[in-house]
């Protein structure tokens, strides 16, 4: 806690956490106060994250960024935080999405106090996972980030019901299914699924801890310390999958992905943004920064499986997105598909691939945030998400359409936007290790183009019906959010040098630590 930097790390978690606690004592009916208060919290986080990112020194030592207290000596648990080239961009991502999410939530009028308390707690948890360097607290914050989801979705979410209105069949727009998904279902499934994943993680953590304890007699949950221990090949082979699948669940790893579309669809806009944008990254981050770091041999043994499943994610998610009727489901499945690229990048265990994976986490976070923000606006205006019904909105909602188009083009890997660079790096990594899967991944990107353009052509192009006569385009605040996110996508798309430099400075030592590269 000596240096200014470590104070910053501490504050990154403390500000939202205690901010949320303070909010408990606010009068529940002072809506504008609550909104502004949350915005201030989010902005503070944003400022700190940006400062961390800008002042990040790629070849300086990171020891000045450390918080370290003894917390529970009996088990060797310490409250210790730190950053790396990998976490810094993700922290920034979290800050950005939180800010954006709070801003687009201007229309939350149903019990806003509770809503923002839970949301802010969630964000504190996410910061915690990225910053914690002690497995106990990483797990601790991981759970904290998951728990508020249930109420956020259950109370403020929205259900999908296609059992009533039949699909308006339009040639070339099949759009299937008469199904309904109550929000409670989505919330419960998401909660149980993620906690189930965390159980696997927990098992693995305890196994590693106990093994290290019996091998070296050391009682510590510090990732760094645990990664020094020599675990037997067999042990690694057994327990790495626990990390891989446990964290993978949150990363939407096929076939443990189904919570994600349901959850995202049911969730209110800001929560979808945070969840698809940041929380799913926690999973991938966990696989990388915990699983691979602590059990490198296990990681390399299981890498083919991981990259294979990642490929399945890409194709399966993209193809399922083709068959969706609900605007949000399309995007939900697209994030399943895009997380596939992240998992593939991780699976390459190769420097460029890992760079790509981390960069993809960042840019997919921004992109999907933009997506959900815009879809949220559409839903808020039209109270519809049924692709077969929506048509020609571009006439009325040009700006929203433009932003959605940008998000779409980003997701289909259009050069100029950051996802292209990220996916390119993943492709390179994959081509170097498993060329065939690389080919499949590229094909997946093409399928993405199909469903994205289908969506755009149907929802925004074409003649507009009279029922949308008085639709209102994006409000200034929404335009600001959209523009900011687009700006970021463009910035890193056109000049990725700096951010990739930072990521690389985190990835290379990690690989060296694993004894690869």
């Amino acid at each position: 806690m000596s240096s200014m930097e470590s104070v910053l790390l501490f504050a990154l978690i403390a500000v939202p956490f205690f901010g949320a606690l303070v909010m408990v004592f606010f009068p529940a009916d002072r809506h504008s106060l609550i909104h502004w208060y949350t915005r201030v919290i989010a902005f503070a986080g944003l400022v700190m994250a940006v400062w961390l990112f800008v002042t990040f020194d790629t070849d300086g030592d990171l020891s000045k960024y450390t918080v370290d207290f003894e917390w529970l000596p009996a088990l060797g648990i310490r409250y210790s935080l730190g950053i790396s080239g990998i976490t810094t961009p993700l922290v920034l991502l979290n800050a950005i999405i939180f800010m954006a999410g709070v801003l687009v939530s201007w229309n939350v009028t149903h019990r806003p106090k509770d809503f923002f308390i839970w949301l802010t707690l969630l964000v504190a948890g996410v910061y915690g996972v990225f910053l914690a360097t002690d497995l106990f607290f990483l797990f601790f914050f991981y759970e904290l980030a998951v728990v508020p989801m249930y109420l956020l979705i259950g109370v403020w979410g929205s259900s999908t019901d296609f059992t009533k209105q039949p699909a308006v069949e339009i040639p070339g727009y099949g759009g299937g299914g008469k199904y309904d998904r109550p929000k409670e279902y989505g919330a419960m499934k998401l909660m149980l699924y993620l906690v189930a994943g965390s159980v696997l993680v927990w098992v693995a953590i305890l196994a590693v801890w106990a093994e290290a304890r019996s091998v070296t007699g050391m009682e510590s949950f510090s990732i760094a310390a645990l990664s020094q221990v020599e675990y037997s090949e067999n042990f690694q082979r057994i327990f790495y999958p626990f990390f891989m699948v446990g964290f993978g669940v949150l990363a939407g790893l096929w076939p443990f992905h189904t919570w994600s579309p349901d959850g995202h669809v049911a969730a209110p806009t800001a929560v979808s943004m945070l969840h698809a944008g940041v929380l799913m990254k926690l999973g991938a981050f966990g696989i990388l920064a915990v699983g691979m770091v602590i059990l490198p041999e296990g990681a390399s043994d299981w890498a083919p499986v991981l990259i294979g499943l990642g490929t399945v994610n890409v194709l399966y998610g993209a193809v399922s997105a083709l068959g969706q009727r609900d605007l949000k489901y399309v995007i939900g499945y697209s994030s399943v598909s895009h997380m596939g690229y992240v998992l593939m990048g991780l699976g390459t265990l190769e420097v460029i691939g890992l760079n790509g994976a981390v960069f993809q986490m960042f840019s997919h976070g921004i992109m999907t945030g933009l997506f959900f923000a815009m879809v949220g606006i559409i839903y808020e205006r039209t109270h519809l998400r049924d692709i077969t019904v929506l048509e020609g909105l571009g006439k009325r909602m040009g700006v929203v359409g433009a932003f959605l188009a940008v998000a779409g083009l980003t997701s289909l890997g259009l050069p100029g936007f950051s996802s292209f660079v990220a996916e390119l790096l993943v492709f390179i990594g994959t081509f170097r290790t498993y060329p065939i899967l690389g080919v499949l991944a590229v094909i997946g990107a093409a399928i993405t183009a199909v469903y994205i353009l289908r969506l755009m052509a149907k929802v925004f192009f074409g003649p507009i019906s009279d029922r949308w006569a008085d639709l209102e385009d994006a409000k200034p605040i929404e335009v600001a959010v959209g523009a900011a996110l687009v700006g970021i996508l463009l910035l890193w798309g056109l000049y990725p040098f700096r951010i990739v430099e930072i990521i690389d400075s985190g990835v290379q030592p990690l690989l060296e630590g694993m004894g690869i590269a």
Partner: protein
């Protein structure tokens, strides 16, 4: 000067950015901004050109390369840079000129569009990316620009987005080319994995040193060819181009005839060493060219919408260029590319002028328009004759170059030679058909009100007409240091001057004349009854008129295969993965709960019994344990 060449694409890009950001505040100034930046770029081109000539020795080749780091990750260093060689310069000239002219034209043509500024914005972005594409010094940057022109074309085709047909056409165009791009990207990545770089120079060096295996070379060439035929709408990816005519005519003129669609040809020319090195690749190239040329020419003969006829003629000419490249002559290919660019721009602007002046797009509704719009008629006529390959117009020379190249081609030269001649004849025929039926004959009453277009539209049209007409002169060496197109643009070391093979030239001229003659008889004098001919070859005609049913096949594939698959997977995800795999365990748990609770009967003795059994179980287990 050359190190400043990056300004050429940058200026329009900046113009685009400004227009998008400030579109509210600059209603029509946007157009001025766009055209202004284009003009500057056009001017810059000449400086660069001159500078380049200063560096070049004669005879010989010279390439200027300049690049900066763009991204470093691990061992990979990706760069952005410029590559200025004759091919680049040719394209730069064509693109800047065409873009500038057509923007001026659009001032008049698009004047009444509500989204005037947006049009010019996208137009500038297109120009920028197209210029970047031709200047790229590495495959990655080339791919980036490649995708950007694609998206611009998407936006421009979908300019009238509230027309369902336009929306569909735009989607079709993008997705079709995207399929090709998959190949291109895979090819590029393949080369990266093999050579560790995207730099053209390094890759060519590796190729020259034989570091690349036979398979890799052929594979890379074919994959990149896939991208090329996607963008240049060659069979089997040709379906999108005719639909792309949904866009505003200036767009068709610039994007879908003069510049973007030739990007494929340009790509092949750019990576020509690969096609030189692989006979398989060049044979495939030849075959595709031949098939496309014949098929497209046939369709051009039966189409009635003027823009569609022109679209199919574009396909034919692109196929022509491909033939030339396949036969191993970059010179011929690029020369035809250049002259076709001018001629086709003329024709499209003419067509635009027609529909602008007389709201007619179907050639059967036209006729005698020369009385109302003489200048348009003149321009269109010269364009048609030039493209039909009648001397002394430019098209003749380029067509002759191509035919000659094909004749000398290494593989099955004579087969493709015959194809080339046939296609040459058909070109003349449909060009004649369009021109005669549109401008000659007697004026229809409904076209009485038709009027000539304004100067801003005529001026560029006439400029292109002139260029197309006299462009043939470029073939000859006038100044020392130039020595003809063959000494300017060439592949490897076979640079040669222009020489006419009188036999071939004569033959193709005769065919061209024949073509125009037949067209005259059919559409002016009417002494040749087309209905009769059609009636005789009815099935063939229907087949061709329905575009060989290729679209239907694709549509069917998309509707039944792709979407069905999508719905199927979506269903599987719901019903199996979700309802069984996910909900299953949950419901199983609560089911077992509901079964287990029965144990709790509420009766005292059953509880006691439970305890006794528990005790026995413990004791037995214990006893067994030891």
């Amino acid at each position: 000067m050359m190190e400043w060449a990056w300004l050429i694409p940058s200026l329009p890009a900046i113009a685009f950015a400004l227009m998008v950001v400030l579109r509210r505040w600059l209603p029509n100034w946007g157009a001025i901004l766009a055209t202004g930046s284009m003009a500057v770029s056009f001017a810059l081109f000449f400086f660069v050109f001159a500078d380049w000539f200063g560096e070049k020795s004669f005879p010989g080749d010279y390439t200027f390369i300049y690049s900066i780091d763009w991204l470093r990750a691990g061992d990979a260093v990706l760069t952005w840079g410029m590559w200025i060689d004759p091919i680049t310069l040719t394209m730069l000239g064509l693109v800047t000129a065409a873009a500038l002219g057509i923007q001026v034209y659009s001032w008049g043509y698009m004047a009444h569009e509500p989204r005037f500024t947006w049009f010019f914005a996208v137009h500038s972005l297109f120009a920028a990316s197209m210029l970047a594409l031709v200047m790229a010094d590495n495959l990655l940057l080339l791919y980036i620009a490649w995708e950007l022109v694609g998206i611009c074309s998407y936006l421009l085709i979908g300019f009238f987005y509230d027309r369902r047909s336009a929306a569909e056409a735009a989607k079709k165009a993008f997705i079709t080319t995207r399929v090709g791009d998959v190949g291109l990207l895979i090819g590029i990545l393949l080369l990266f994995v093999e050579t560790g770089t995207f730099e053209l120079s390094a890759i060519f060096a590796a190729l020259a040193n034989g570091e690349l295996s036979e398979g890799v070379v052929t594979g890379a060439a074919l994959l990149m060819l896939m991208g090329a035929i996607g963008k240049s709408a060659q069979f089997p990816f040709h379906v999108w181009l005719p639909d792309a005519m949904e866009g505003p005519t200036p767009v068709s003129a610039l994007v879908h005839s003069a510049t973007m669609v030739v990007a494929g040809v340009f790509l092949v020319a750019r990576v020509f060493p690969f096609f030189e090195a692989s006979d398989t690749a060049s044979l495939v190239l030849l075959c595709l060219g031949a098939v496309t040329a014949l098929g497209a020419a046939a369709m051009a003969l039966v189409m009635t919408d003027i823009k569609r006829v022109l679209a199919y003629s574009t396909l034919t000419d692109l196929a022509f260029m491909m033939l030339a490249l396949g036969a191993g002559s970059v010179t011929a290919g690029m020369f035809h590319l250049l002259l076709h660019g001018f001629a086709k721009a003329t024709l499209f602007l003419g067509a635009g002028s027609i529909s602008h002046g007389s709201e007619q797009t179907d050639i059967r509704q036209m006729g005698g328009l020369r009385r109302r719009m003489p200048l348009t008629a003149l321009a269109f006529g010269i364009g048609a004759l030039s493209l039909g390959g009648l001397p002394p117009f430019g098209g003749f020379f380029s067509k002759d170059e191509v035919t000659l190249a094909v004749f000398h081609g290494q593989q099955f030269g004579w087969v493709f030679f015959i194809v080339a001649l046939t296609v040459g004849f058909m070109k003349a025929l449909y060009m004649g058909r369009v021109f005669f039926s549109a401008f000659l004959g007697k004026l229809k009453p409904e076209n009485e009100h038709a009027h000539e277009s304004g100067p801003s539209m005529l001026a560029p049209m006439l400029v292109f007409t002139t260029l197309g007409a006299v462009g043939g002169l470029l073939a000859f060496g006038w100044t020392d240091g130039y020595g003809g197109f063959g000494y300017f643009v060439f592949a490897g070391d076979h640079q040669e001057g222009f020489h006419l093979n009188w036999g071939i030239a004569g033959a193709s001229t005769v065919l061209a004349v024949a073509g125009f003659g037949i067209a005259w008889l059919a559409y002016v004098t009417g002494s040749l009854r087309t209905e009769g001919i059609i009636a005789r070859v009815r099935p063939v005609h229907t087949l061709v008129a329905n575009k060989f049913y290729v679209d239907e096949v694709y549509q069917w594939t998309i509707d039944t295969v792709v979407l069905t698959l999508g719905n199927a997977i979506a269903w599987v995800d719901r019903a199996l993965v979700n309802d069984v795999g996910v909900n299953g365990p949950g419901s199983a748990t609560s089911w077992s709960g509901s079964k287990l609770r029965v144990v709790q009967s509420g009766k005292l003795y059953s509880y006691a019994l439970g305890m006794v059994l528990g005790f026995l179980a413990l004791a037995v287990a214990w006893w067994v344990a030891q």
